[in-house]
Symmetry: D2
C-alpha cells in the first residue's frame, strides 16, 4: 500500500513519517511540505537520518492533482481550513483520505460556523466523513473513504466518557473536563507563546471558557446521549513536550448503584482494546507512561464525600491524540492488523 | 527583632532563610537542622554564599529549650506532627511562633484525627492558633502568639474563593478545585517519585479524592459560609520547580445577577492588597509571573454556555504558598510594613 | 532464545525489559528485582501495562543458582561490585553473560583497584571478558561468553575517537572530552542531588577531574594507540531525562594533511554501521535526535584558527549508552540480525 | 536619577525593567518598544503587574531625539547593528549610554568587520567606549560616557580567565572554553529552533568553531596578555531558562609552582568583589545557585594526571551576563553603592 502525507513538516506530520516508515505494510511514497520542498526527509528531520527510505524520499511542493496518482491513502496534516481543497480532488480519483485537521470532524455546518467563524468550505463532504475514533466507530471506519481523525483533547475526553454516558451511568449535565497539554499540542507554530523560556516553569490556562475543540466533543457526546450535551472544558498548557492529562468530573445517574458497574462498563467497552489501558488498584494515569505510544490510560474514582465520579486519562497528544490514531484508522480501513506499525 | 528557623533544610526553610536574610527589620539569629548541624548556611545552601550573615551563621541541632532565649519570633518548618513539642515551650517563655506545618491549622480535633490518623498532640493550643492568611485574618494575626501558616493548595483555593462565598455570590455546594503543583510542593523529600527522570515529561494526579489539605480548606470554607462545606479537590504534579495553578469550578447563587458583582466583590476584598493581583481583560494567571514572589494572581470567567463561574489562581507554592506568607504574617504581628522583605 | 535480566528495576534494567519484550527472537523468561519481587512487570512499570508478557511475568528475588536454568543469556544490570557473584556460577553452567556494570570492563586489576578502591572480586574472569563495543569488537563479541557492556560516557567518547586514533590522524596526547549527561545517567538512585527541583534549571560539573569512567576510556584508548593514553574528562549534569552530548578537543598529527582524511576515516570505520550516523553539511549532533534509539550521531569540524579538530557526538545514555548496546551485542553473539529489536 | 531603556521587550530589556523598578536611586522614566508601544509595562509584562510604576509607565515608540530629554542614563537593549543611531545623538546631548549589544565592545574596526560582515557604522565612537566589566575596568567605567556591556559568554570566560592570564600563571596558548547556555541566551527570538518542544530534552552545540563572541573575548584576552590570543570556544544550548556554565581548559605556565598561587591570584583579584563567589572545598559551580542574581561562581581544579588547570564558572546570562552587569556599571558611573538594586 502506498501512503502520502500532505503537510509533513509539523509535529503530527513528523509523527506520521515516523510511524509509516516502520509500518510493515506501507510504503511511504510521497510527502509534501512547502517549507522543506526539495530536501530529503532525512535532512529535514535528522532523527530519521538512519532510515534508508528517509534518505531517498524528498519533500515535494503540495500538488493536489498529482497526489491522487501517487498514493492509495493520503494523510492530510494541514492547518485548519485548507483540507477541503485536497480532499475533494483526492476523493474524486478514488483515494482514501485521512484528515488530521478539524475540517471534517463536525456533522453540523452551523456548529462549524459558530466555532470557526466562517461557512464550511465543502459541506457536501461532511455527511461522508467518519469520525476516526476507532474504539467507537470501528465498523464505520472499515468502509470509509474520508476519515476525520479526532483532536487530541477530544480523544482524551471522549474515550473515557462515552462508555459511561452511553450506559447511562452518568448524567449528561454538569460535565467538566479539565485538561493539561504538552506544548507540542500547539503544533510547530513559531509564536512567542511557545518559546522555551515562555513555557518552561510556566503553567497556564488558555482558551477558557470556549475552546474550539468543544464543538466536536459536544457533538459526539450529544450523539451518544441522544440529547444536546454542553460541557465545561478548561485546557491548560504545561511544560511537557508531549502528553495530555484529562480530569473529568461527572455526576452519577440514578442507574448507578455501585462502583462495580463502572468497572464492568469500562471492561465491556475496552477490555479487549489493544490501545486502552484500564488502570487497576491504586494506579493513576501518568503521561510519561504513554509517551510515544498509541495507548490511552484510564482510571476512575468514586468520591464518597461528594458523590462525584472522577475519571482520569493520559495519552500522547501526537500519537493517540493525532498521528497514531490516524494510522490505527488506516489499519482498520485497509484490513491490516489494527496494531500494525503501532507497537 | 531576632528570628529563628527550626528545620531550615527543606524548601520552605531555605526560602525563609532567603527572605529573612534580606529583611530590613530582622536579624536571622538561629537556624536549626539535624542534617546540616555545624555547617554554615552559606555552605549548606551555596546560593546564599555571598551573604555575610550566611557565611557566619551555623546550623544548630534543634534544642527547644534554647530557642526561646535566642529569638523573638520562631518559624517552625518541620514535618507534620512534631511542631507541638517546640510550640509549647516556646509559647511558655513568651516567644511568638509561626508554624508552617499543618499541626495547628485546624480548629477541630475530630477533623484532625480523621485526616491525620491520630489524636492531636497538643489540643490545648488549637484555640490559640490563628490561621495565617493575612488577607482574611489580618486583625487576628496582629495579636496572635501562635500562627498556623496555611498550606500552598489551601492558599491557592481559599483566597479566590472566600470573597465570593462570603458575599453569597456562589453556592457552597458543588465546588471543584483542580490544582497543578510544581515538584517542590512535595518538599525536599528524597523519594523515587520526585526524581528528575520520574517527574520531567510527566503529568499525573495523586491523592485523589481525599487529600489531607481538604481538612483545612473545608474548615475555612465552612466558617466563611456558616454551614458545612464539602468540596472536590484534585491535585496534580507537573514538571515545574515552583508554582501552583488552581482552576475553580463554581455555581452562581441566586444573588448573582451580573458579572460586575464578581468584579466588585474581588475589588472590595483585594483592591488594596499588595500581594493579590486581580487580572483584567484577556489576562489569565501564569505561574511564571509569580515565581519567587509573594503574589497570587486571580482571574475569573463566567461561561454563558454552562452558567458556571471559572476562577483561576497562580502562586508560588514556596513563597505565597508557604514562607513568603509566613513572613507576611510576621510583618503584621510585629507592626512592620506588610511588604517588608517581600518586594 | 530465553533471556533473563538481573536487577531489572533500574533505568537500564527497565530499558532492557522494553527492548527484549519486543525483540522478535527473544523470550524474556526471567526478571529479578529485590524491590519488586512478586509484582508483575506490568505493575512495576505501568508503561509496559499493555504488553501480554509483561502482564504475566513476575519479578523474582535474584537467585544465581536458579538463573542458569532459566535463560540462555543473562543480562546483569546491577550496581558496581556485585556482578561477579552472578557471573561466576552462570558461566559455570554455560550461560552467556552480558554485564552492564563496570565490573568486567577493565583488563588491568591494578587500574581497577586504583579507580574502585578495592581488589577485583573475580580477577580470573577479566581475561575472558570482551568489551562490548560492537562497532569495534564485533568479531570478539561473536565468540564471547562474558561481555562487559561499555558505559555511556565511554561509548560517547570511544566511538568518535578510536577511528582517528587508530588511523594516526590525531595525537594521543592532550585529548579533552567534555560531556553533558541527562539525569537518568545517575541511575534510579534516590538521592537528594537527583530530585527534580535540584536538577531542573541546573547545569553543573561533577567528578572533576577524575571520574571512574576514565579507567575504561583510557584503557581502550591505550590499546588502540599502542601506548599509554591519559585524557582530560569533564562530565556535567544537565536537565534532560536521557542523552549524552560529548565534545572532543583533538590535536591533528603530522599525518593529517587535509580534512578529507577525517571524512574518509569515519566513512571507512562507520559508513556501513547501522547505528552510527555521520552527519554532513552544517548538521551537528542533538540529543533529541537519538532519544530512545540505539544511534550515535557524530560530526566534526577542523578549526583553521586554532588548528584543532572538534568532534561531537550524541547518544541516548540508556539505549546506545547501555541497554540498546547490550542487546546489539546479544544479537551478534546469537547470530541474530544486528538491528533486531532495535529499530 | 532618570533612566530610560530602549528596546525593552526582549529578555535583557525585561530584566533591566525588573532591576530598575526596584532600584532605590533610580526612576525608570522611559521605556521604548515597537512591539508594545502604547501598552503599560504592567500589561506587557504581567509579572510587574503589582508595581505602581509599571502600572503607569507606558511603552513608547523609540525616538532618539526625545530620549535625550527624558533620561540621564539610557540603556540600549537593541539587536546588533542599530545602537549607533541612538548612541550618537544621545552622547551629543550629554546622556550617558550603556549599550547591551555587541556594537561598541570591540576596539578594532577590522575585527568588527571580520566577525560581523560589514563596516562599523560609527567607528568614531569606538575609542570612547569602555568595556563594561566592572571587576576589571571599574576605574574606566567611573568616568565613561559610553559603556559597552559585555556579552554573557564573554563574562563567563573573561572573569575566571583574566586574573590567571594577567598574573602569568597560565599560558596564553591552547585555551579552550566550553560553554553551556540556557535558551534565553538566544534572546526573545521567535524562531523554530527556540520553541519549547525543540529545546526540551535537547542538548546541542552550535556556532562551532567561530562564534561571534570570540571577537570580544579574544580582544580582551589579547589586551591582558600583551600579545594576540586565539582560543577555542564551543557554545552549547541546553534546556534551562537562564544560566551559563563554562568549563575552561588551561595550561600552567612556567611560573606556576603550586596550586596556592591560583587561590591567591583569585583571592587578590576577587576576594572583595561583591558579585564574584570563589568556591571552596569540594564545591563546584551550579547555574541554579546564581539564577536571578548578579553573582558569578568560580571554582578551579589542577589535574595531576594531565597537568591541566580546569576552571569552572556559572552565572545568570540575563543578570550578570547582561542586565545586572549593566546596572552594576551604572552604579559605578553614578557613584551609587555598587550593589544598589542588585541584592
Amino acid at each position: 500500500m502506498k501512503a502520502a502525507i500532505v503537510g509533513a513538516s509539523g509535529y503530527s506530520g513528523e509523527e506520521l513519517v515516523r510511524l509509516l516508515l516502520r509500518h510493515p505494510q506501507v510504503e511511504l511514497a510521497w510527502v509534501t511540505s512547502r517549507q522543506y520542498a526539495g530536501q530529503t526527509v532525512a535532512r529535514a528531520f535528522p532523527k530519521f537520518g538512519s532510515d534508508a527510505r528517509a534518505k531517498s524520499l524528498r519533500f515535494s511542493e503540495p500538488q493536489p492533482e498529482l497526489l491522487g496518482k501517487m498514493a492509495d491513502v493520503v494523510f492530510l496534516a494541514l492547518p485548519h481550513g485548507v483540507a477541503a481543497e485536497y480532499a475533494t480532488p483526492l476523493l474524486g480519483v478514488g483515494c482514501q483520505v485521512i484528515d488530521l485537521s478539524a475540517d471534517f470532524r463536525l456533522k453540523s455546518q452551523a456548529v462549524y460556523k459558530e466555532f470557526y467563524g466562517h461557512e464550511h468550505p465543502a459541506p457536501e463532504l461532511l455527511p461522508r466523513a467518519v469520525y476516526g475514533l476507532p474504539e467507537i466507530f470501528r465498523t464505520e471506519i472499515q468502509n470509509a473513504s474520508l476519515i476525520a481523525s479526532p483532536g487530541c483533547y477530544p480523544t482524551s475526553i471522549l474515550l473515557p466518557l462515552l462508555p459511561l454516558l452511553k450506559a447511562g451511568l452518568v448524567k449528561s449535565t454538569g460535565i467538566i473536563a479539565d485538561s493539561l497539554s504538552g506544548v507540542s499540542g500547539a503544533g510547530r507554530k513559531v509564536e512567542l507563546d511557545y518559546l522555551f523560556a515562555e513555557c518552561n516553569e510556566s503553567a497556564r490556562p488558555y482558551g477558557i471558557p470556549k475552546h474550539r475543540h468543544l464543538s466536536e466533543i459536544e457533538e459526539q457526546l450529544s450523539l451518544a446521549a441522544g440529547e444536546a450535551v454542553v460541557i465545561q472544558f478548561s485546557p491548560h498548557l504545561i511544560p511537557l513536550n508531549r502528553g495530555i492529562l484529562t480530569t473529568l468530573y461527572l455526576t452519577p445517574s440514578a442507574h448507578l448503584e455501585n462502583e462495580n458497574q463502572i468497572a464492568r462498563c469500562y471492561q465491556d467497552a475496552y477490555g479487549k482494546e489493544p490501545f486502552v489501558r484500564l488502570l487497576e488498584g491504586s494506579a493513576l494515569p501518568d503521561t510519561k507512561n504513554v509517551t510515544g505510544t498509541n495507548v490511552i490510560e484510564i482510571a476512575w474514582r468514586v468520591d464518597p464525600r461528594t458523590g462525584r465520579i472522577i475519571v482520569l486519562s493520559a495519552l500522547d497528544n501526537i500519537t493517540k491524540g493525532a498521528s497514531g490514531q490516524a494510522v490505527q484508522s488506516m489499519n482498520i480501513l485497509r484490513g491490516f492488523p489494527e496494531t500494525a506499525g503501532l507497537c
